[in-house]
Each structure stands twice: as C-alpha cells, then as structure tokens.
Amino acid sequence: MRKSLMRGAGAALVAALTLWGATQPAGAAEPVSVRLKWLPQAQFAGIYVAKAKGFYEAGGLDVTVNPGGPNINVETLVASGADTFGIASGTEGVLYAREKGLPLVCIGMSQQMTPFAYVAYTESGINSVKDFKGKKVATWFTGPQYTLFSVLAHEGLAQSDLQVVSQPFSMQPFIDKQYDVATVTLYNELNTLKEQGITDIKLFLPDDSGVTTQQDSIVTSEKMIKEKPEQVQAFLDATLKGWKYAFEHKAEAVDIVLAAGSGLERKHQELMLDEIEKLMVAKLGTTEGLGAIDMKSIAAVQDSLVEFKAMKAPVDLAAAFDTTFFAKVPAEDKKM
C-alpha cells in the first residue's frame, strides 16, 4: 500500500515535471521578441505597424510582440534575455538598470519630450510652476516624482515649499479637487480628463521649465549588441520606419493597433496617436529623426537623480546609451 502510493505520488511528480519542461520555450530561438511596457495601444503603433506592414520581415526578423502590464519590468526581461528587445520606461529606467549592473543598452528613444505634465484648474489661480508654492501637488511615486523634483529645482522652489502627495492610478481625486495640481501623461490621462468634459484646466510642461526626460526607450541587451549587431540594426531600422509610416497613415495605423488589442476604442487610440506624434516629432525628433537619443538631456537627468539621491553614483552613459545604431538608420526611415 505504502509502496504503491509512493509510486503513484512519484509518477504524479514526474508527470508534473514533464508537463513543466514541455512548456518551456525551446532554447536558442531564432525569432526575436519585443516586450512593450504596456498593453497594445497607439503608444506602440510603430511596432505594430512595422510588423503588420512586413518591415521586420523585410529586415530578416520574425518579431513577436509581447505586451506588458503593471507587473512587468521590461528592463529586467530584456537584460535577462527573456525578451530580445523592449520598449522600456525611459531615461530613468535605463539609468537605474545600469546602476543595478543589468547588461541593458538603449539604442533609441521614442518620446523626445517629457510626456508628463502638470494640470491645475483655471480657477485655482495657479499660472506658473512658481505658483505651486504652498499648494498640494500630486504625482506618481513610481519614477515621475523625480521629474517633478527637477522641475521644482529649475523653477527655484524647494520641495518643502509645497506638499507633494502620491497620486493613484485614477484621476478621480483631482476631479474631486482633493489636490491643486495633478500629474498627467499627455497621451492618456489628459485625454481622459478632456473626455470627462474637464477643460477648464491649465497645463504645465516640464520642457518649458527646461526639464527634458526622454521616455519609451528602445532597449536590448549587451549580448545582442555583441553577438548579433545586424539584428539590432534591422530592428531599429524597421521600428523607426514603422513609426514614420504610422504618422503618415494614421487611420491605417489605428486599424492595425485596434486589431492587435481587444476592447480598444477607436477615438481613444486616434487621440493617443496624435499626442504620441507630438512627443516623438519634437526637438531632436525633427532635426535628427525619430528615435534620436538626446545625450545632453540624459546627462542632465542623471545629474538630478544623483542630486536627489535616487542614484548613488553616475553610470557610464556611453555604455548605457549606444547612439551608433541610430546614426546608421537610413535617413528616409527616420526623418519625417
């Protein structure tokens, strides 16, 4: 009895382990993957367009697009090799990953302007960032708080001059006027406010205070750059080409995004693509081309992170941000 039971339990264990093993992805997979920082939406239109229009295929890549979520850390997944490429958080995310010793390299930057902005009701009498003094200002403490701190520093305000509070997922507390200033992204929360009919607001852009932090970094691992640089180049070429096509054929791009996701609203996605275009076709995105890496703003971001003790010591920016791939992208693929 005892023996047969033990054998049974053993067999069950073996069966479970086999099942486990069988589902592991096969090693040394030739096709590559790109991990997004969020679910399918127009924020990633360029990637979906490049796939749907066959730009990746033409570059010799079989790309799987893996959507992200709130619990997904793109930097870790790409550095560990679980995903080949990634659309990761942004300047800060790359710097933190490098500080932790992750072999992650940024090869392009999607958003050329800071996508975060601050909103206040017109009636509040707040007309500039300097007027934040003495007010209750909400921001996300998942990283964007350092952008706020930099903006305050640039405007000559001390953090103790105002009350900085943590902002939740929802814009509802701002709608209920629980604080004076809230943080939005230009491509989502600002649209949410507008859709709820809230238009009597003023907008303050970090770039106007001289704070630029590029977001949605295009990343890969040091290993990929060393072993398969031609694939890295092909991926960046096709991705930027996809973006250019998306902005030149917006209706088609939205169609492609809607097909890639589920339950998406067309109007939302159109608005998002418009805002993403403004963020990507700005500053260096106009002069150098889509995806340009702004080393000057990155150095400034790192300086402020070190100043705010979010980073212990600066990292080697030349190793963290590789501009050589971007430089080799044909002009007709990246210049609007």
Partner: protein, 254 residues
C-alpha cells in the same frame, strides 16, 4: 393567502430570481438616489457598453475560462495527490508542508514575475498561476478530510481483512470527499483570480486584460461590465462544482 409567503420564499430561493432582483434594484436605485455614474453607472449604460464590445468580451470570457479550468484541473490533481501523500506518508508532510505554507505566503505578484520569465506570454503562464493558487486549499482539505477517518471503523475493516487499498477507497476517501469538495470549491474561485492576475503580466485577450485596459482609460461602465462578467464566470464554475457535489457527494461525515 397562506401560500404566498411560501411562494415568495420559493421564488427567492431560485438563483435566477436573485439576479433579476439585483438588476432591478440597480435599475431603480441609480436614478432614484441620483447616484453619480462614477460611483455606479446606470445598468442600461453598462449593458450597452458590454454589447458594444461583445465580440472581445466573448473571446475574453472563453480565454479566461480556459486558463481557469486548466489551472484548476492541474491544481486539483496535484493538490489531491499531495493531500493523500501527506496523510499517508508523514515524512512527506513534515518535509513539504512548511514549503507549501511558505509558498502560499509569497505574493502572487512576485511569483508571477518569475512565471513570466519562465513561460513568457503563453497561456501556460496563466495556467501555472491559477494552479499555484488552487493547489493549496485542495491539498489542505484533502489532508484534513483523510485525517477525520474514524479509527474504530479502520479497526473494524482491518479485522475483516481489508487491504490498504480497500481501506482507502471504501472508507478514507468517502470520508474525505465532502472536505475535498470544499477544497475544490475554494480552489476554482482562486483559479479564476489567478487567471485574471496572470493576464496582468502581459497578454492581449482575456477578462483581466480588458479590466486592466478599462482601469487605465478610466472607463467606469467597462469596469462594471467586467466585474459582472468575472462574477458570472466565477458563479457558473462554482455552481458546476456544487452541482457535482449534490449529485455525487451528497453525504456528510459524522
């Protein structure tokens, strides 16, 4: 006249009647108490929103159902196997039970991050998270059920020369089955929660994906659509197990 309270009771006992009553209360209460849509949108708005995405909703329901059922089945088989193993092989319980308890206290968020690295964005990742949540209550309830076997009855059956397997199949297992059913009913609800959380680790189809999206875009009616859909799915799955229980495991241990 005397029959009416009974009739009312009979109507209320019907689960479908309860659904209709809740829907009616929702329908009447929102305009009556002037509830703001961000707290509770009118049921008509929620219904219309659900209809506008019914294709995605159906695909999501199917996908989440599949993840839940696969995870539950795997979790139930493993859970019962370990429960039985623990009951008969004390060293196994002493060796593994503390590990399982420790695993159970690991937040599913931390576990999920690892699962994504192991399995990528496959359906397997969600199934494993559903399994992870379903497994423990099944194992514990199987073990507790088997432990309640009356030693006097064991002695009696042994005196008639019953073999170990006969003891297990004819006495211990029937004694434990009601308890195992409790574990399974807990497990199926947890499987559904596991599948939905699993979808938050990156996917394009599923109720969890749609829920996350509606939270991100602050589409409150859509959130309610998904609350209703998840609730309906959980109720159907639980009801199915309850039906099996009523049909096949109707007895109670003394």
């Amino acid at each position: 006249m005397s029959g009416s309270p009974n009739a009312l009771r009979r109507v209320l006992a019907n689960p479908f009647a309860a659904i209709v009553i809740v829907a009616l209360a929702w329908w009447i209460a929102v305009p009556l108490f002037k509830i703001e849509p961000r707290f509770l949108p009118p049921i008509s708005v929620v219904f219309a929103d659900g209809m506008s995405v019914w294709r995605d909703l159906a695909a999501g329901l199917w996908r989440t159902l599949l993840e839940t059922v696969l995870g539950f089945l795997a979790g139930a088989i493993l859970g019962i196997a370990f429960g039985v193993g623990f009951a008969y092989l004390r060293f196994l319980e002493r060796a593994f039970f503390p590990i399982f308890v420790a695993l159970q206290t690991v937040p599913v968020i931390a576990f999920g991050a690892i699962v994504v690295i192991w399995f990528g964005n496959t359906i397997m990742a969600k199934v494993v998270i559903a399994l992870y949540l379903a497994f423990f209550p099944v194992a514990v309830n199987t073990l507790r059920g088997l432990e309640t076997t009356d030693p006097q009855r064991i002695a009696l059956m042994k005196s008639f020369g019953a073999s170990g397997l006969q003891l297990f199949l004819k006495l211990a297992l029937p004694t434990a089955l009601p308890s195992i059913m409790i574990g399974l009913k807990l497990g199926i609800s947890l499987s559904l929660a596991g599948a939905i959380v699993g979808e938050w680790f990156g996917d394009t189809v599923g109720l969890g994906v749609m829920l996350l999206q509606s939270l991100y875009f602050e589409q409150i009616p859509r959130v309610w659509v998904l609350i209703v859909a998840c609730g309906a799915l959980g109720t159907v799955l639980y009801g199915f197990l309850a039906l099996i229980e009523r049909r096949f495991v109707w007895w109670r241990p003394d």
